[in-house]
């Protein structure tokens, strides 16, 4: 077995040192009835050549973005990943290392994560960031739990225009904590401010909004924040398409208390769902209540600047059942990917990329708007995706597009908003050329005729 280096003479030597005749003696504490007589049925062992060939074939059974144009977003986006990202995350001492409990041997990870936290703080315009969360949904759920615990409240307002999956995760996390979720109604594709105004009361501990929202539309964060601030209700903004932070005023600019979400767009392919990268950024007053790891700068005994995990007394290994969260392993390598990505594209590159996404999506909007059989229900400022409604069954349209090497989402928004029959989110990034968009337009003209 090529990952086990022990020879039979090593084995013999070790058994002699231990004072046993055979390895089975070491398993005597396991009641014999539990010892397997047959190996688990997992098939014959395969060589590397066979595994790679098999998996290569398997991967080719998928329709990948190399085979078809991808117009899917919602929770993950297809962006270009510069070669250097892969190169850095392939460095063995980055990807094989454990959580940096021993700072003397982990300055590489620690400094990189400090840079990640710095980038996220400036991107969101908040005071602090943690070292990462699992994904955008668990980040939002943990933000809700953190804020409600701090405010000693049990009710959270949630925008009805959170992505349906994000909303479902919030419900999953809220239930065991006896947190009530009250949905804020929408109006014409964005949060209904009057309805929000009516819902705010002293019982409410926080309000969670997503922007761009599940329809891709940018919420009026200034207005929402001021409604909430007036009643001293903590505000949580969720940004899933982190590229939008390159073009849009960040929630921190409007005094949000927490900004969290998904940063998969920063250097990670969609990978059929993961891993992506959850992040959480907070205002000063929540720093010591944040879940997860936080990296801080300090000095060593020689007064050399260095980095360590800090504010550890919040965490599960110390506080156990009183910890702010149960998170232990996070998404550190994904945070490194994002850090390398952001370092490479820089301030200018991220602005350019965000604008490029905006322009491509708006070109697509303009072209699709005139296609007969397409209705665009909401026409408000959006970032890089928008909702369209077809005059034919969505499954039919999706299959027809697939025949023409185009991928659209499996999510029919009618499943979540019954009044939106045959509707789907179309997403456009720097990866979708004008030619691709024109082909999509022409295909839809034909299919919807």
């Amino acid at each position: 077995m090529r990952f086990i280096p022990t020879t039979s003479s090593d084995k013999k030597n070790m058994m002699d040192s231990i004072g046993i005749e055979n390895v089975e003696e070491l398993f005597r504490s396991i009641p014999s009835e539990y010892l397997l007589q047959e190996p688990p049925g997992i098939g014959e062992a395969m060589s590397e050549q066979d595994v790679t060939q098999f998996l290569s074939e398997l991967s080719k059974q998928n329709v990948s973005f190399d085979d078809a144009s991808c117009f899917i977003g919602e929770i993950a986006w297809y962006h270009y990943v510069p070669s250097i990202v892969q190169s850095v995350t392939s460095m063995p001492s980055f990807y094989t290392a454990y959580t940096p409990y021993q700072p003397e041997l982990s300055q590489g990870t620690l400094e990189a994560i400090y840079e990640f936290q710095s980038y996220m703080v400036h991107l969101t315009k908040m005071d602090a960031s943690n070292a990462s969360m699992y994904d955008g949904a668990s980040a939002a759920a943990e933000a809700m739990i953190m804020v409600l615990a701090a405010n000693r409240k049990k009710t959270a307002l949630v925008s009805s225009l959170l992505h349906p999956y994000l909303k479902k995760v919030l419900y999953t996390y809220a239930l065991p904590r006896n947190i009530n979720l009250v949905e804020v109604p929408s109006d014409d594709g964005s949060i209904n401010h009057e309805a929000l105004q009516k819902l705010v009361s002293d019982d409410i501990g926080c309000c969670i909004v997503q922007s761009p929202n599940t329809f891709g539309i940018i919420e009026d964060l200034a207005e929402i924040s001021s409604i909430l601030k007036e009643r001293k209700i903590a505000s949580i903004a969720v940004v899933l398409e982190s590229f939008s932070l390159g073009l849009l005023q960040p929630p921190g600019e409007y005094d949000f208390d927490v900004v969290c979400g998904e940063a998969q767009s920063f250097g990670m392919y969609p990978q059929f769902g993961g891993p992506g990268l959850g992040y959480m950024c907070v205002a000063e007053k929540y720093i010591r209540k944040m879940p997860g790891r936080i990296i801080g700068k300090t000095v060593d005994v020689d007064n050399q600047p260095c980095y360590v995990m800090t504010l550890r007394a919040r965490e599960q290994d110390i506080r156990r059942n009183k910890a702010t969260s149960n998170i232990c392993t996070n998404n550190a390598l994904c945070a490194l990917q994002a850090t390398v990505f952001l370092s490479t594209v820089g301030q200018k590159g991220l602005r350019d990329l965000a604008k490029r996404n905006f322009n491509h999506a708006h070109y697509a909007f303009q072209e699709l708007n005139d296609v007969e059989g397409i209705t665009i229900p909401y026409k408000k400022p959006f970032f890089n995706e928008f909702l369209v409604q077809f005059n034919k069954p969505l499954d039919y349209v999706r299959d027809e597009l697939l025949q023409r090497d185009m991928l659209i989402s499996k999510n029919n928004f009618a499943d979540y908003f019954s009044y939106l029959k045959n509707s789907v989110i179309l997403s456009f990034t720097e990866m979708n050329s004008k030619a691709e968009i024109d082909l999509l337009r022409d295909a839809l003209k034909e299919v919807l005729k």
């Binding site: 504490s29 397997l36 993961g274 000095v299 599960q316």
Partner: protein, 495 residues
């Protein structure tokens, strides 16, 4: 080695860049006409640096880290085994990476096949009846598993009465934290001197309020719960469920299965047992397996097959596999996407490599190695447990002279080129040093480690200052953690 590496912010200059936008024929700028001006971002504080500076920066940073290729990484409870290169390679196939979680099922039959087959293999390996591959890490799996327990009792109309999860005091911190996150009260049960469940304490705590127990087996002191049969019987007679924390599954991989021991739910740490890298703290994956009676509570989505007469593996099953979202009794959704797919691809490649021939060698060699280290060191460091251990051995620095602690030993080990063992865990053993060599360690490297440990113990008597001032051979030395918390600096500030 460069010791102090400036942040990239320090190298930033507006003329530098590491990126150029691609060509596009869409040249119209829609921002002015389509976005209210005050919604446009004004200021963005990120560095502008060239690609070569990025490459050097991270390459130099990586040199300050210690990884599995640097040498022995005997972190107990963490299973720092070798991460096969093949795993990284296959996970990067375009056909996997460049697929979207919201693609229609008929366009991702390769992915669905892989996940379906992996679920099946994990069932075989653990003795469970079904798996969800969604959880993002061990603790996320625990949260999911305890929600399943909650739902199970809700369904039986006992949710209001079954409010307690029992957890041994030797358990990992995520166990109690996850049980609380899933809405339960935690009661600790005492551990015996070997970290096993104290049966008297367990009997005392059992009542009709107990929903379940979370056990790690082998436990966190590296001992197999020899009374597991009795424990399972006690809990089941009480109508309660058994949860298996799979962090230590490596010890019994291919040798015994939690499902056969009476566990109703297990989570696996893919990033431990199944060789996927720890990434400096993640990402991992924490699949959860259940017995038949809990299947209907699993989180969405479930991967199903239209015709279960189809034999796997047989790749001509296009359009037969599908994801199913709504099940009436499901605990719901636990994450945005369906799984940490690329981590699971790596685990799948690893299991294919082990196969039926080799899988038991993992547990055997992991256990042999740990016992070897224990045998060689037990006369030098206090060994609180005399019996053979499983995949990790716990030694203690508590009997050393001159006020030497587990931390001092750990720091001095760095000077000898090793990553230290886990220290101060489990909490029930004072000054614990928990050593887990894993099956992929060579005898030669373990012998070097043993020699280093013996030398350090000698130094602790003859020249304790060497230990107290260690490490001296590392990029930085002991850190001022108090200052880190007091003068909090957790992000670079604009000057």
């Amino acid at each position: 080695m460069k010791k102090n590496i400036e942040l990239l912010y320090a190298l930033s200059h507006e003329e530098k860049t590491g990126y150029k936008l691609p060509y596009t024929e869409i040249t119209q700028d829609y921002v002015n006409e389509s976005l209210p001006n005050d919604w446009v971002r004004k200021e963005l504080f990120l560095p502008n640096v060239s690609e070569v500076e990025v490459a050097r920066h991270f390459f130099n940073l990586s040199k300050l880290n210690y990884g599995v290729e640097d040498g022995m990484y005997p972190l107990g409870s963490c299973t720092m085994k070798y991460n096969p290169k093949m795993n990284e390679h296959v996970a990067q196939y375009d056909g996997f990476q460049k697929t979207h979680p919201l693609q229609a099922d008929n366009t991702v039959s390769g992915n669905l096949f892989l996940l379906f087959d992996l679920e099946d293999m994990l069932c075989e390996i653990t003795g469970m009846d079904a798996f969800t591959l969604s959880p993002a890490a061990g603790a996320h799996g625990e949260f999911t598993g305890i929600l399943l327990i909650r739902k199970y009792f809700e369904d039986k109309g006992e949710a209001d009465t079954r409010t307690i999860i029992l957890i041994p005091e030797s358990a990992h911190g995520t166990n109690p934290a996850s049980a609380v996150a899933a809405g339960f009260d935690v009661e600790e049960i005492k551990s015996t001197a070997t970290g096993e469940v104290d049966l008297d304490s367990l009997r005392e705590k059992l009542s009709d309020k107990v929903a379940g127990i979370m056990l790690t087996n082998p436990n966190t002191t590296g001992m197999f719960e020899s009374n597991i049969k009795e424990i399972a019987a006690l809990l089941h007679e009480n109508g309660s469920l058994l949860y298996y924390d799979g962090a230590n599954l490596n010890a019994i991989l291919g040798i015994a299965r939690p499902g056969d021991m009476g566990f109703d739910i297990v989570h696996l740490n893919i990033h431990k047992t199944f060789s996927t890298p720890h990434g400096g703290g993640g990402p991992g994956a924490g699949p959860v397996g259940v017995k038949e009676h809990l299947i209907s509570y699993l989180p969405e989505p479930i991967i199903g097959i239209e015709d279960d007469s189809i034999e796997l593996p047989d790749m001509d099953i296009e359009e037969k596999l599908y994801r199913m979202n709504r099940m009436d009794k499901s605990i719901g959704r636990i994450r945005l996407t369906d799984s940490s797919f690329s981590v699971l691809v790596k685990a799948y490649a690893y299991i294919l490599t082990l196969g039926e021939e080799h899988i038991h060698e993992v547990g055997e060699n992991a256990v042999l190695n740990a016992n070897y280290i224990k045998a060689m060191l037990k006369d030098f460091l206090y060994s609180p447990i005399a019996l053979p251990c499983m995949h990790e051995c716990v030694l203690s620095a508590s009997k050393l002279e001159n006020g030497i602690t587990a931390l001092d030993i750990s720091k001095r080990l760095m000077d000898y080129g090793f990553h230290p063992p886990t220290n101060y865990f489990p909490l029930i053993i004072p000054e614990a040093l928990m050593i887990e060599p894993t099956e992929t360690e060579t005898k030669e490297e373990m012998d070097r480690f043993i020699t280093a440990m013996k030398t350090i113990v000698r130094e602790s008597k003859e020249n304790p200052a060497l230990l107290k001032s260690a490490p001296t051979n590392t990029p930085i030395r002991r850190t001022n953690d108090t200052k880190a918390a007091k003068d909090l600096d957790i992000a670079y500030k604009r000057r």
